[in-house]
C-alpha cells in the first residue's frame, strides 16, 4: 500500500478497550451504592404519599394529604421560612467576612500564618457535636439563646473558616501585577475590589457560597441546641417529628423529609446554575 492509499483510506476506528477487573469492580460497587441511595429515597417519597404502609412492596393506598398536614400542623412553613432566612444570612455574612479575610491571608505574609490556617481547619473538620453544646451554652449566657441571631451565629462557626480556606487559593492565582496594573490605571481600593478582584474571584465565591448553604441546611446539632420552637430549621423540625414519643405518623415525617430534600435540591440546582467558572466569567462580558 502506498502512502496515498493510507491517507485516502477510512479513518482508523478507535479500538474498544476491554474493561479491566478494577473497572468492573468499581462500576459494580458504584452501582450498588447508587441503587441503595435511590432505593431509600424512593421509599421515603412513596411513604410520604401512603395512606398506610405496613410491610409489603407497596402501600395500601396513595394520598397527598400528608403534605397538607405537614404544612399546617407541625410548623413546617415556619421552619421553611427559618431555613431560608438562616441560609441566606449565613451565606451572605460568611462571604462578606470570609472573602476579604481570605484575601489578606493569601496576600500578606506574617509570622504564624500556617498556624492560623491550621486553626481555621479545626471547626471544619471537627464534628459539630464536639462543640455544639458549649456554643449553645455560650449563646444562652449572652442572652441570645433561641433567637434567629444565635442560629446564624453558630452556623457561621464552621462556615466562615470554610469560605476563607476556599478563597485563599483563588486569590493566590491572581497575579499581584494585575492588581498593580489596576492601581496604576487609577483604581482605588473600592474599584480594585469591585472591578477586578470580585469578577476574578466570582467562581470561588460561588463555590464557597454553595458549600456554606449546603452545610447550613444540613447543620443539625449546631442549630438544634440553640434554636427554639419558632426559630428551628427544617432538619431540626424533622428530627423533632421523628423523635416525638406521641408518635407522629410515619408518612407525615416522610412528607417533611421530602420537603426538606426538595428545598436542598432546589437550592443546589439554583446555585449550580451559576457556578461553572467559565460561565461565571463569561457573564461579565457584553
Amino acid at each position: 500500500m502506498t502512502t496515498a492509499d493510507i491517507a485516502a483510506g477510512p479513518p482508523p476506528r478507535t479500538r474498544r478497550e476491554r474493561p479491566t477487573l478494577t473497572a468492573v469492580i468499581t462500576w459494580v460497587a458504584a452501582g450498588c451504592f447508587v441503587a441503595v441511595i435511590l432505593g431509600v429515597l424512593a421509599s421515603v417519597v412513596v411513604q410520604s404519599f401512603a395512606t398506610t404502609w405496613r410491610g409489603g412492596w407497596w402501600p395500601a393506598g396513595l394520598t397527598a394529604t400528608w403534605y397538607g398536614r405537614a404544612w399546617s400542623s407541625t410548623g413546617m412553613s415556619q421552619a421553611l421560612a427559618n431555613t431560608a432566612q438562616a441560609g441566606v444570612a449565613v451565606v451572605v455574612i460568611a462571604l462578606l467576612a470570609g472573602v476579604p479575610a481570605g484575601y489578606l491571608l493569601a496576600r500578606r505574609a506574617f509570622p504564624g500564618r500556617s498556624v492560623v490556617m491550621l486553626l481555621m481547619l479545626l471547626p471544619i473538620i471537627l464534628p459539630p457535636m464536639t462543640y455544639a453544646v458549649q456554643l449553645a451554652a455560650l449563646m444562652y449566657r449572652v442572652g441570645l439563646g433561641g433567637s434567629m441571631t444565635a442560629v446564624v451565629l453558630v452556623n457561621l462557626v464552621p462556615t466562615l473558616p470554610l469560605v476563607v480556606l476556599i478563597m485563599v487559593p483563588f486569590v493566590e492565582q491572581i497575579s499581584p501585577e494585575v492588581e498593580n496594573a489596576a492601581r496604576v490605571f487609577g483604581a482605588n481600593n473600592l474599584r480594585l475590589f469591585s472591578r477586578v478582584l470580585v469578577p476574578l474571584l466570582l467562581p470561588g465565591m460561588l463555590a464557597a457560597g454553595i458549600l456554606v448553604l449546603v452545610r447550613t441546611l444540613g447543620a443539625f446539632e449546631l442549630t438544634f441546641f440553640v434554636s427554639a420552637a419558632d426559630t428551628q430549621t427544617l432538619v431540626v423540625a424533622l428530627f423533632g417529628a421523628i423523635s416525638d414519643p406521641g408518635g407522629v405518623p410515619g408518612p407525615l415525617t416522610a412528607a417533611m423529609a421530602v420537603t426538606y430534600m426538595l428545598v436542598a435540591v432546589l437550592g443546589l440546582a439554583v446555585s449550580l446554575r451559576f457556578v461553572t467558572p467559565s460561565q461565571a466569567i463569561r457573564q461579565r462580558h457584553r
Binding site: R183, V184, V196
Partner: protein
C-alpha cells in the same frame, strides 16, 4: 455615585509635568538590596532609557516610581512636590508591565478602556480612544478577545495600547517590545518614537537592547547592581562608556584583559599588552593607570579595520565568518590566542590571514574589574 468617588481616579490630569525625580532611593527585599542610593531624573519631554543586565533593579525602580513598591529610604519628587506617599492610583502614569499584567476577565477592548473608565471618560469617547490605541498596535481585529486568547506578542501590544490610551504625561515602559518579532519590533519602536514626539510624552523605558536604547532615547541611564553606573546622552554613553561594564553593554564586543606597559606624557594615552597584542589606547586620566596596572581593553567590532591601519596592527587568522547581509562579522585569533571580533564589507574567507588595526582613540582602556555581570546578549 459619591462625590469622593468622582474626584478619585482622575490622577494628576490637567497639571503640566515638569520633572520627576528619584533622590537617593534604596529598596531592600529582606536582606538584599535591589536599589541603592539611586538618583534618577525624568524631565519633561525626555526619553530616558534604563539599561542594565537582568536583576540589576530596573523593574524595581519603575515600581518605586509608580508607587507600587514602598521605598526603604529616599524620596520621589514631582515638580518640587514630594510624592512618595501618594498612592499609585493618584499618580496618573501610563505603564507597560514586564509581565503585561492584562486583566484576564476583560476583553482586549475593555482592558484598553480600563484607565479611561477609571477616569470617568464618557463611554463613546472611551470606545473611540481605545479603538485608536488598538489601531496603533495593529490589534483592532482582536478587540473582542480575552487576553488568554492572544499570543504573547499580541498581549504585549495590548499592554502598550492600554498605557497609551489614557494619554498620560509620563509613561513607564518595562521592556515593552521584548516579545515581538524583529520586524514588528522595529515598527513598534518607530511608532513609540512618533507618539513620543507628537504627544510630548515623557518616557522612562527599560530595555536590554542597546540598539533600542540608542535609537529611542534622549538619555541613557545604565544601572549596575541597583546603583547608577552611568548617565548621559546616547552618544556620550556609546562613545565614552564610563567603565568596562558599560562598554560591555554598549556593543564593545572585544573585551580583552591586558596590562599597562607604559603611560605616555599625555595621561590619556596608554600602551597596553595582551599576549602578542600591543595596543595604543585611550584611558580616563582619573582612572590613575600606571605601568603594570591590570586593565580591560574594550574595542567595538566596527572599530577594528582589516588591512594595515598604521596603528595597532596585528596579524591574525580568520576563524569564523558570519554573513550579515551588507557586511561580514568575523572572529579572528592572533598567533598567541587573543580573540578579536571585527566587521568588514570586504570578502574574508575562514582560514584567511588578515592584518587588523584600530585607531587609538577607539581602543578604550579601563581599570580591570570583575566582568562577570556583563551579559553576552548585550552585544548588538
Amino acid at each position: 455615585m459619591s462625590v469622593a468617588e468622582q474626584t478619585t481616579g482622575a490622577g494628576t490630569q490637567g497639571s503640566t509635568f515638569g520633572s520627576l525625580q528619584m533622590r537617593q532611593v534604596s529598596r531592600w527585599y529582606g536582606k538584599t538590596a535591589a536599589l541603592t542610593d539611586l538618583d534618577l531624573e525624568l524631565a519633561h519631554g525626555e526619553f530616558v532609557a534604563l539599561l542594565g543586565p537582568s536583576g540589576c533593579g530596573k523593574s524595581t525602580a519603575l515600581a518605586c516610581l509608580a508607587g507600587l513598591q514602598p521605598l526603604t529610604t529616599g524620596s520621589i519628587w514631582r515638580d518640587g512636590k514630594r510624592i512618595d506617599s501618594l498612592p499609585a492610583d493618584k499618580r496618573g502614569f501610563g505603564m507597560v508591565f514586564q509581565s503585561y499584567a492584562l486583566f484576564p476577565h476583560l476583553t482586549v477592548a475593555r482592558n484598553v478602556e480600563f484607565g479611561l473608565s477609571m477616569r470617568k471618560v464618557p463611554r463613546a469617547e472611551r470606545r473611540r480612544r481605545a479603538q485608536a490605541a488598538l489601531d496603533l498596535v495593529q490589534l483592532a481585529d482582536h478587540a473582542g478577545k480575552l487576553p488568554s486568547q492572544l499570543s504573547g506578542g499580541q498581549q504585549q501590544r495590548v499592554a502598550i495600547a492600554r498605557a497609551l490610551a489614557i494619554d498620560p504625561e509620563i509613561v513607564l515602559m518595562d521592556e515593552p517590545l521584548s516579545n515581538l518579532d524583529a520586524a514588528l519590533r522595529i515598527e513598534m519602536r518607530t511608532e513609540i518614537k512618533r507618539l513620543y514626539q507628537e504627544r510630548e510624552l515623557s518616557v522612562l523605558y527599560v530595555t536590554h537592547d542597546q540598539e533600542e536604547a540608542l535609537s529611542l532615547a534622549t538619555r541613557l541611564v545604565v544601572l549596575r547592581g541597583g546603583r547608577l553606573e552611568q548617565s548621559g546622552t546616547p552618544e556620550q554613553v556609546y562613545t565614552q562608556p564610563a567603565s568596562a561594564y558599560v562598554a560591555g553593554f554598549m556593543g564593545y564586543r572585544n573585551m580583552i584583559s591586558a596590562r599597562v606597559e607604559q603611560v605616555e606624557s599625555d595621561p590619556r594615552r596608554v600602551c597596553v599588552v595582551a599576549g602578542d597584542l600591543w595596543l595604543q589606547g585611550t584611558a580616563d586620566p582619573a582612572a590613575g593607570l600606571r605601568a603594570g596596572s591590570e586593565v580591560m581593553v574594550a574595542i567595538r567590532p566596527e572599530d577594528i579595520v582589516p588591512g594595515r591601519a598604521g596603528v595597532n596592527d596585528v596579524p591574525a587568522l580568520a576563524e569564523v565568518v558570519e554573513y550579515h547581509g551588507r557586511e561580514l562579522a568575523v572572529r579572528a585569533r592572533t598567533e598567541r590566542g587573543v580573540v578579536l571580533h571585527f566587521r568588514t564589507e570586504k570578502p574574508v574567507a575562514a582560514g584567511a590571514r588578515v592584518t587588523l588595526g584600530a585607531p587609538e582613540e577607539r581602543v578604550l582602556v579601563f581599570p580591570a574589574e570583575g566582568r562577570a555581570e556583563v551579559p553576552d546578549d548585550a552585544h548588538g
